[in-house]
Amino acid sequence: MKSLDNVLNDYFFELGDVLGKLLDSSRPRFTPSIGIVLSMLVTGIVSFSHTLHTFILALIFASIIAFATKKTREWLYVTFISIFFALVVALPVILLGETRELVVFILRVAASASLFTSMLGGLGWLGVVKGLNALGFVELSKQLGVLIRYIPEFIRKAQTSILAREARTFTVSRKNRWIIGLSLVGDLIYEGFRTSYWLSLSIKSRFFGEATIKGNNVLHWRPTPLDLFALFSTILLAYTVYAG
């Protein structure tokens, strides 16, 4: 059995890995503002549909986008996790014998989650920030930017804290593992407080007026092939919902 500190370390390592991929600094495959609008629109369309062929079409489109953006692994993770949780939530429906409702519910969750994830994967978190900024949500994009900046730092601090404890743990016992795991909580709360204190000072020190330049690419749409594909998918899915 893995010790608690190893499990925590593995957890933080995996989390860091996923975040690292989402924070990929390479150029987003979608135009950020268009990517955000289309991802919300298409997720909304799929979320309100009832027909099986819409769900299947959505999953096909999502897989194509995930493959094109080279985020297939992450996309599969999210899709399967969505199916698992949808299944758990839908268990009572099985008891009622509503099999079709069950399948529709699970497919709806899986299709909308996988479509949204595949587009988000193509945008990356930095693309989302840029997109929100370009769409005029300047404050929201700044807040999201701060969040994105500090999550990896937080994970790094947690990992360092675990390693520091492990380096001075000479006996392996269940009690020690729990001490390591639990003592981390206080440290992380304190670290959160300390970080927010300095963050507020840092922002304050460089705030001297209102923002006067707007986002970087204010709806200058220079469509990428994926933009066009996402637009085509959205129109087709909307049509299938409309046509029933």
């Binding site: 978190w125 900046r149 990896p152 000072l201 330049i213």
Partner: protein, 243 residues
Amino acid sequence: MLEGRNITFSYLKDDLVLENVSIQVKTGRIQTVLGPNGSGKTTLLLLVAGLLRPLSGEVLLDGKNLFEMLPGARRYIGIMFQNPDDHLFSPTVRDELLFTLSQLELTRGEVEAKIQLVANMLHLEHLLNKPIHALSFGEKRRVALASIIIYDPTYLLLDEPFANLDPKTTALFLKLLCDLRKSRGILLASQDVALAERISDYVYILSNKKIIWEGEPPVPRNILDEAGLQTEMAPCSFGQSPQ
């Protein structure tokens, strides 16, 4: 001139961190506050930058109360924190540089030109689109310095700017500070006596909550002793295995 006059400050009741401290940051020179760990150097910088309010005393910018001119007056004061992770809050290097520029009513072309200029000065061209968390410590320090010199403040307050830097980055910072001192006032907080004496035009020694000495370097040795900035090293034979 940026001036802290008779400043007294405490974080906790009845536990003063600074007591009746006065300091002046004049343009055209580098001033350094030297003091041991925990002497209140960082707190003094935060007070002079107008980020903390003194219990008594005042902070003046060109003879006027700084706190009555905030936040607009922050345009003239740039402070770099000791830990770059505390200083940098944007997702990418470019966003960090854009934060202040976006408040200056500049055109997109002017903004881009300023970014390129500062990136060139601090060798950040290849890092502009990188996430901050992926940078090394030295790179983060360079970005932190870039984030304040980009908006061209008159006074630069730098907290331990040379700590933990490799020799190359130290040399880059030294050259930059020498260039910047011509038109700006620079206040450094440090505990590196040798470096401070080499680059400073004026030195303040902070110890036991007070400025115990100020003047042009070199600092008298007895003052350094008193402040705990100079100690005798215990004898140790190197190159021999312990018995």
